[in-house]
């Protein structure tokens, strides 16, 4: 039995790897994507173009402006002298923030009255807007505390001392690059598996496969193993790049990571098999793969947190294997999670794998009739 299964696996691998185009598609793009997306997918702000309208023009207000100019987050592109320019600059997206300092700024500071400062932000990207306001507030309160200290005003009773655990510099690359491991592994596995069955069905060779001495289980194995192999190998390359190229710390062990990876690839393989056993043509298989893949990436927690989703969508994500694997990769990479703390992530993926594979096996038989 094993000889036959191995023969089928070898044949499947040859089909994928012999065609120059499909070989290229499997090797080149994932690596290019890792590089481009690894750098592109960031929430960190730097060089945000800003403009300043300093209506006070005193040494104090210039000191405040200097704090903004000195920050690596902001990049001063224009000093304004009228309010009319503000709208134009923001509307056309030339600047993302305008700092307006009131003419009474210094005067009121000296009288210990609240000195008005206005921060105008482009809200077309609300996430960026929130982060910009956060950075601006930090600079403003540093300025305020420094002013208090210099003018022997009473100090505030308490100040925040913020630290971030697991990712002290809050680099979003550390969050995104492990996520890309999951995204690309899923894309590659799903395509290899999802299309292999549909192709045979379209060319009619699948019927031939069914009349060979191979059992249902052997066919499932023979069709599934190549996807598993290719998926795990691709993922290993990407993991290596995450560690050595992007310098993301790998704090946990390889065992919890690879256990998660294998379970994830099995679950995705199961989904892929189920899709291709439902599809009659390659077009339908591709569509099915797409229909599964797009929501599974967008609703996985890859880019936006699951905790922010409404309850009904959160329940929907429980069916998504990627949701669990993302927790595992990020946990093992950044938090150094071990096997026991990830059990709650392993078993749902195993369940998804078992259910989808069983369904695929059952569907294979049904669809031939």
């Amino acid at each position: 039995m094993w000889r036959q299964v191995i023969a089928l696996v070898v044949k499947e691998l040859l089909v994928v790897l012999r065609n120059k185009k499909s070989r290229m598609v499997l090797i080149g793009p994932p690596l290019i994507q890792l590089m481009v997306f690894g750098y592109a997918a960031t929430y960190d702000l730097n060089n945000v173009p800003i403009a300043v309208h300093n209506r006070d023009r005193s040494a104090t207000s210039r000191d405040l402006v200097a704090r903004f100019v000195g920050s690596p987050t902001f990049n001063l592109v224009a000093m304004l002298d009228s309010d009319r320019q503000i709208n134009e600059l923001i509307d056309s997206r030339q600047v993302q923030m305008v700092l307006v300092i009131d003419p009474r700024f210094t005067q009121r500071l000296l009288k210990q009255e609240p000195a008005p400062v206005q921060v105008i932000v482009d809200g077309r990207n609300s996430n960026t807007a929130l982060l910009i306001i956060g950075y601006a507030n930090t600079i403003l309160s540093e300025f305020a505390l420094a002013w208090d200290a210099a003018h022997s005003n009473p100090a505030p009773p308490a100040v925040l001392e913020m630290r971030a655990r697991y990712n002290p510099t809050l680099s979003s690359r550390w969050f995104i690059v492990p996520g890309i491991v999951a995204v690309l592994t899923q894309v590659v596995t799903l395509l290899v598996v999802g299309l292999s069955v549909a192709r045979e069905r379209e060319t009619g060779t699948f019927d031939q496969l069914l009349v060979t001495p191979l059992r249902q289980f052997d066919i499932l194995l023979g069709k599934g193993l190549p996807g598993l192999l290719i998926g795990v190998i691709e993922a290993s390359v990407i993991i290596a790049a995450a560690v050595w190229w992007f310098d993301v710390p790998l704090r946990g062990g390889l065992l919890p990571l690879y256990l998660g990876l294998v379970l994830f690839v099995i679950a995705v393989t199961g989904v892929g098999m189920m899709i291709s056993s439902l599809a009659m043509t390659q077009q339908q298989a591709l569509l099915g793969a797409f229909l599964f893949m797009v929501p599974s990436i967008i609703l996985s927690g890859f880019a936006t947190p699951i905790a922010n989703m409404p309850a009904w969508v959160q329940y929907l994500t429980l069916l998504n294997p990627m949701r669990y694997f993302l927790v595992i990769v990020r946990g093992v990479f950044l938090e150094g999670s071990n096997l026991s703390s990830l059990v709650s992530q392993y078993w749902p993926m195993a369940m998804i794998g078992v259910v989808t594979l069983a369904a695929a096996g059952w569907l294979f038989r049904r669809r031939v009739l």
Binding site: L26, A115, V117, N125, S126, Q283, I298
Partner: protein
């Protein structure tokens, strides 16, 4: 175009329309897919942190600490949980039960009264760096509010001598849905546009019907036009459905004009379809065409378009790469037309870029798909 050519084109168009109508999957891609995806994602994709679970550790409670922690009970952003020791709170954070810890040590009040600047220990889980930053921003707001309230209660002037008024243009509620949903339209339409066409020509090659077409008098230009028109109409239909959902269901304001939106969508659709045609005439195999369509459309439209990740924050080299992603221009137009209005300084350059991309892709598809057999 002479009458014979027109007749041939009409025949081809009839065939394409019949093929679409009889294969429910392409109708599903055009209408159902965008609607369903938009419904789920529009509800699911959000960067607004609310009810963030937070651990409060107060080692020696008194009125001062109570006034501070009371701010968290009132904040819509946080859901505070009390822990008796920092160790217990740390364990809860490791188990992902809380996102952050606020730690007031036993000498908090003594230091606050004697010298001021008593440290409020804050530890946030930094794994999701963006979320952590947003939480830090909220914490800063809570702290500022508390300082002002505390000073007022004691009849003192605020220790923070600035009156800052952040003003968020176009989106005063800072709701991430208002910018994510218009961006989603671009992502979803990229998908459907490229997917629809990427498959149709590759299918003709694989089934051998392309060769059958070649021996007829039909020219390649007619074949391409006949493929383009029905799928363009389908795509625009899906687009209209998406805009309706965005405005009526998600309540995103449409401040620009519908005309501008339609024009920009038409240009984008042409670019997306052109790209699909190019892929499929290049690949000639549904597996490869599908792979390339996924790799060159969905993921770039998701990551490189400025839909979630701000293009300004990307490294220079990656910013240059984003210029070849059609969705980038469309996302810029959509976000402005929906939230800001007809801002011509944003719309015109981006629309021009879309027109150039459409011309390049359609032209390249025309060149690649000559009548040839290899």
């Amino acid at each position: 175009m002479n009458t014979a050519s027109f007749r041939r084109l009409r025949g081809l168009l009839r065939k394409e329309f019949l093929q679409i109508l009889r294969d429910p999957s392409s109708l599903a891609i055009a209408f159902l897919l965008p609607a369903v995806l938009l419904l789920i994602f529009g509800d699911g994709v959000s960067l607004d942190a609310r009810n963030v679970p937070l651990a409060l550790v107060v080692e020696r409670p008194d009125t001062l600490t109570a006034s501070f922690t009371g701010q968290f009970e009132r904040s819509p952003y946080f859901r505070p949980h009390r822990f008796s020791s920092i160790q217990a709170a740390e364990r809860a954070m490791a188990a992902r039960e809380v996102q952050g810890i606020i730690w007031l040590q036993s000498d908090f009040t003594r230091r606050a009264i004697s010298r001021g600047k008593s440290p409020i220990g804050v530890i946030v889980n930094g794994v999701d760096a963006n979320n952590a930053r947003i939480i830090e921003g909220y914490l800063q707001q809570v702290w500022t509010t508390w300082l002002v309230a505390q000073a007022r209660a004691e009849g003192r002037l605020s220790p923070l001598p600035l009156a800052t008024e952040p003003q968020v243009r176009f989106n005063p509620a800072v709701s991430s849905r208002n910018y994510l949903v218009p961006g989603l339209i671009a992502v979803i339409m990229t998908l459907t546009g490229a997917l629809l066409t990427a498959l149709v020509i590759a299918r003709e090659w694989e089934r051998g019907t392309m060769e059958a077409l070649m021996v007829t008098r039909v020219t390649m230009r007619e074949i391409l036009i006949a493929k383009l028109i029905p799928y363009f109409l389908l795509g625009m239909g899906g687009m209209a459905a998406s805009v309706a959902i965005t405005v009526f269901l998600f309540g995103v304001p449409l401040r620009g004009s519908l005309m501008v939106l339609t024009g920009a969508s038409a240009l984008f659709m042409l670019a997306a379809l052109g790209m699909g045609l190019l892929i499929s005439s290049f690949a000639r195999n549904q597996f490869v065409a599908g792979q390339i369509a996924i790799i060159t459309t969905f993921l770039p439209a998701f990551i490189l378009s400025g839909f979630v990740f701000d293009i300004n924050s990307m490294p220079r080299a990656v910013q240059i790469i984003t210029h070849i992603v059609a969705a980038r221009y469309f996302v810029a137009i959509l976000q402005s037309v929906f939230l800001a209005g007809n801002v011509w300084s944003v719309i015109l350059p981006n629309a021009a870029a879309l027109a150039v991309m459409a011309a390049v892709f359609l032209g390249a598809a025309r060149i690649v798909s000559r009548k040839r057999l290899d």
